[in-house]
């Protein structure tokens, strides 16, 4: 229910003052987590895979992760999308660990791309599995492999 708590908090005048937000009294009355005024989305790419390829050829690290209990953009979708790229595999599918438990599963591809699942996490991964998400981002930023033991 955290959405409701956040809506209540962000719409408090003392919070907005502390955040230096809404200084002009925006005409659409209440702060919402998702916009209800933005109604017309004019262009949406059907795929961003060419961009991922561009990054890989420009030495930009690409990590893709997936909470494995999300049904909105599920792990199956992401795995199928990656499969269409036909990338050479660097390390085979294997579990990664945090605090003696399986944190998820991972596979690395040549060209500095890593795919990792986060076990037990839904769409908003850091909300559901905060420790695993922090471990994942630390390894991403450090450029180190997720621990395989």
């Amino acid at each position: 229910c955290s959405d409701y708590y956040t809506i209540a908090y962000m719409n408090r005048p003392d919070v907005q003052k502390a955040l230096h937000a809404n200084v002009t009294n925006i005409e659409y009355a209440t702060w919402q987590p998702c916009s209800d005024v933005l109604t017309n989305w004019t262009d949406s790419a059907s795929t961003i895979i060419p961009l991922l390829r561009e990054f890989m050829t420009n030495d930009i690290r690409v990590w893709i992760f997936s909470g494995d209990t999300d049904g909105r953009v599920p792990v199956t979708s992401t795995m199928n999308s990656i499969k269409t790229m036909n990338l050479p595999i660097k390390t085979q599918w294997h579990p990664w660990y945090l605090n003696g438990e399986v944190g998820g599963y991972t596979q690395e591809y040549k060209g500095d791309m890593t795919f990792a699942t986060v076990r037990g996490a839904g769409h908003q991964v850091p909300s559901y599995e905060a420790a695993r998400a922090l471990s994942l981002v630390m390894h991403f930023l450090d450029g180190t492999d997720l621990p395989d033991s």
Partner: protein, 262 residues
């Protein structure tokens, strides 16, 4: 001058004591249109001078990085059920980086435009350009981060926002023949990547997790094109999808095992 100091958040209402600095305020992305983005920035809990700068974007399109990333996912605080006080997130990502949240595009959260169509009409291209302009102007306010290793992260429809912003950064870096922004990597989660496989995969996942039958997913795969708009799909496709919708409408598909909020 002084903009950064003016943006310093001394303490949020109901906030527990912390030892890192936080900032919030507006950065103009289009002066003539009067378009400005709201940002919330939390410095790292240690070694802020050397740790990288990490931008987090949410999806939607049209959902707030402050709402989800900032206060429900990876930010330093989460809101208590009273809606008035905060508690610490022990696994906040500012243990690993200086983390920047931005409400984008205009019309999302506290971000606004004085041009009314700006907040109603959006798109991938405009969002990427505005996000780039936001970054350039934000780095003028926080020049100590200008040459810092920079990473972009996000989830869901940010599977579009993140790569499109990264592409824009690369474009401008190449054009200038120097690193205007020192982009090192991107991290995207449960991301909208490729429409066809994304949508097909959703129904496959429902079937493999016993939410719909193998017959229904087989009918969907057979009858639906996925490359056309929903209204142009065949009646057979619509019928199969409606069975899947009926079977899943009482669970939270954003986490199939989670309790719903009443």
């Amino acid at each position: 001058d002084g903009l950064k100091e003016n943006d310093k958040i001394h303490k949020l209402p109901g906030q527990p004591p912390v030892k890192f600095e936080q900032y919030g305020g507006y950065v103009t992305v289009d002066e003539s249109a009067g378009r400005a983005f709201y940002y919330y920035f939390v410095e790292a809990q240690r070694s802020k001078e050397s740790l990288p700068l990490l931008l987090w974007l949410n999806g939607g399109p049209g959902c707030s990085s402050l709402a989800y990333g900032g206060f429900q996912e990876l930010g330093p605080f989460r809101v208590n059920s009273d809606g008035k006080t905060l508690h610490k997130n022990n696994f906040a990502w500012n243990h690993a980086a200086n983390v920047l949240f931005v409400e984008s595009p205009a019309g999302v959260g506290f971000s606004y435009s004085n041009t009314s169509t700006d907040v109603k009409v959006g798109g991938d291209r405009k969002t990427a350009n505005d996000n780039y302009q936001f970054l350039i102007n934000w780095l003028k306010r926080f020049p100590e981060y200008k040459d810092r290793d920079f990473y972009i992260s996000g989830e869901s429809y940010a599977g579009h926002y993140v790569p499109q912003l990264a592409h824009t950064i690369l474009y401008h870096n190449k054009k200038a023949k120097k690193n205007i922004i020192n982009l090192k990597g991107i991290l995207i989660g449960n991301a909208v990547i490729n429409d066809d496989t994304d949508t097909r995969g959703m129904y496959e996942y429902f079937a493999s997790h016993a939410l719909i039958t193998d017959e229904v997913v087989s009918e969907i795969q057979k009858q639906c094109k996925f490359t056309v708009t929903e209204s142009k799909e065949s009646d057979e496709c619509k019928m199969a999808k409606s069975i899947a919708d009926y079977n899943t409408h009482n669970i939270d598909i954003y986490n199939i095992y989670a309790p719903r909020c009443h």
